[in-house]
């Protein structure tokens, strides 16, 4: 039901949104609906983060939860500790299933949780998926998971924002969800999943997924390609640019101050 609308095709997006609303109404306002504008974000030469507008529909009375999840990877981090009274890296901790981006939003002042089943979103859910191993004791798992979260929050790639989604009554009796996902400048290119869940009295009413693509275009894409596919050429190019600039600056200065 989420039409394949693209960047700049705002009219089509609105139309698809209205269509989705109509269909949701027909289904008795039971299913959550989700629309992203744009659903494709481009990283160009002047990219400094982006705003993705989010519109959805959920059953009346329910709270909305939006989760943005990036693809997962394994990361190796250095653990700091004390040696001879001094702080330094004392070992390596392997972290598996690390999402490249994690954003959690809700319409309620606190992130809703489920009572009957385990809540599939939030820090607790993340902790079940993310595996820490390496130079740490079993008793330190919780502590270093928190440290891991702090590191990611500091980088602005993990963010939990309760209460930022706005609800409004929809003509069909359901609720209209409006919000915005602020993608940080550090967002890696890749495919993201945005999931809207409707929660009422601790139970999950409905869920809806929408894909979000972030891709590098233009100059950054070209440079990345060169750096990874032609490493030697890239390195030589970097050196030549540096030497030429150094000389030009030298000659410019000679002309200005000594003659």
């Amino acid at each position: 039901m989420t039409g394949p609308s693209r960047v700049g095709q705002g009219a089509a997006a609105v139309l698809a949104f209205l269509l989705a609303l109509g269909l949701a109404g027909a289904a008795g306002a039971a299913a959550a609906e989700l629309q992203l504008v744009p659903n494709e974000v481009e990283i160009g030469a002047f990219f400094d983060g982006a705003q993705v507008k989010l519109q959805g529909a959920i059953p009346a009375g329910a709270a909305a939860v939006v989760e943005v999840l990036g693809s997962t990877a394994t990361e190796k981090l250095l653990r700091k500790g004390r040696r001879g009274g001094l702080w330094m890296s004392v070992g390596e901790i392997k972290v598996e299933n690390v999402p490249s981006l994690y954003i959690l939003q809700s319409s309620s002042p606190e992130i809703p949780t489920l009572t009957a089943t385990a809540t599939p979103w939030g820090v607790a859910a993340l902790q079940k998926v993310v595996k820490l191993s390496g130079s740490l004791e079993a008793s330190e798992q919780g502590k270093f998971f928190q440290e891991f979260l702090e590191l990611k929050k500091h980088e602005q790639v993990y963010r939990v924002s309760p209460g930022v989604l706005k609800l409004a009554p929809a003509p069909d009796g359901g609720s209209l969800v409006k919000g915005a996902i602020a993608l940080p400048a550090k967002v890696p290119a890749g495919n993201y999943r945005v999931r809207l869940s409707a929660v009422l009295h601790g139970s999950l009413l409905s869920q809806r997924d929408a894909p979000l693509e972030v891709k590098m275009v233009g100059f950054p894409a070209m440079l990345m390609k060169l750096a990874y596919q032609q490493g030697a050429l890239y390195g030589i190019l970097a050196v030549v640019i540096a030497i030429v600039t150094g000389f030009i600056m030298g000659i410019l200065f000679k002309g200005k101050t000594e003659h």
């Binding site: 981090l77 040696r83 950054p220 000389f247 030009i248």
Partner: protein
């Protein structure tokens, strides 16, 4: 509108901030003959650049700053190419040895301890010695430069280096000694630089001043000449093996740093050798204190990404 996206670093940054950082570090480079990596890499980290990308892109920036600086000093007749070449050969050999030492230390699991301690000790000793020496020299003005000969007192060091074979005259520096001496010292600095993960300019400069007895102005130019080649090597190697050089980051930095290096080189000509030395010593000591604090104070975060120093 002043933000630019850095594809390899994977983040965006303010152009004016980068330009200013480049200018500042380039200025120090032209003034003292150091690459400035020991200042730039931590500054870039603070600006949110991943440490591996910061270190690699900085070496690319140093290529430009040291080209600009070497050129400026060469026009003033301050580059001893013969000496620089010998130190460079020694430095490359030492660097290779140092990388192996680090590998062994890493396997033994205490690489970081050795690196940090070496860092603090080297900065502390070099900074303190330079500071005291130039402070003394500044106090008794006038008898500063002729001190070098010291005909009455022949130290063990002087007797040792005079006993080495293949004595050679270094015209630009005005010294005569064995070809082996700069080679050996180059190896030693190369080992240290590889262990500490830096270019080694701030160790090389005092070595040239105190162990090779070169005049300060020639030291700065010669050091820059040698740093230029070290950093060309690092830039190309990093590009091939780790893909860590961010060209956008490096270009903005180097526009600033080449400009700064010219101004620094001009100023180095105006300042007295001992004023230069005491300024460099102060910066080295400041960096040492900063590292010492980071070792003693409890860090805000107990996990960190790999790379950098």
């Amino acid at each position: 509108m002043w933000n630019l996206y850095l594809p390899i670093a994977g983040t965006s940054i303010n152009i004016l901030l980068l330009f200013g950082l480049g200018g500042l570090v380039g200025f120090l480079s032209g003034l003292f003959g150091v690459g400035g990596g020991f200042l730039m890499t931590p500054l870039l980290l603070m600006a949110g650049i991943p440490s591996t990308v910061a270190a690699a892109s900085d070496s690319n920036q140093i290529v430009a700053a040291s080209t600009s600086g070497t050129y400026a000093h060469w026009r003033m007749g301050n580059v001893d190419f013969k000496m620089g070449f010998l130190l460079l050969v020694g430095g490359v050999l030492g660097g290779t040895v140092g990388v192996q030492i680090i590998k062994i230390l890493r396997a033994m699991g205490n690489a970081d301890f050795v690196i940090k301690i070496t860092y603090v000790l080297m900065l502390g000793i070099v900074g303190f010695y330079m500071f005291m020496e130039s402070l003394q020299a500044l106090r008794k003005k006038g008898v500063v430069e002729p001190k070098r000969g010291e005909p009455g007192k022949v130290s063990i060091y002087v007797r040792m280096i005079q006993a080495l074979p293949w004595q050679m005259r270094f015209e630009k520096s005005g010294v005569t000694f064995s070809v082996l001496l700069p080679l050996i010292l180059g190896v030693m600095v190369g080992i240290l630089a590889a262990i500490m993960g830096v270019g080694g300019g701030f160790v090389m400069v005092p070595v040239m001043v105190y162990m090779l007895r070169m005049p300060m102005h020639v030291v700065v130019g010669t050091s820059l000449f040698q740093i230029l080649f070290t950093c060309i090597n690092v830039t190309v190697m990093q590009s091939i093996t780790n893909h860590n050089v961010d060209l956008v980051l490096a270009v903005i930095l180097l526009i600033g740093s080449t400009l700064g290096a010219q101004i620094g080189a001009k100023l180095s000509r105006r300042l007295h050798a001992d004023q230069l030395k005491i300024l460099l010593a102060s910066i080295v000591l400041l960096v040492m204190v900063q590292i010492l604090f980071s070792l003693i104070l409890t860090p805000g975060q107990l996990l960190a990404y790999k790379g950098g120093h």
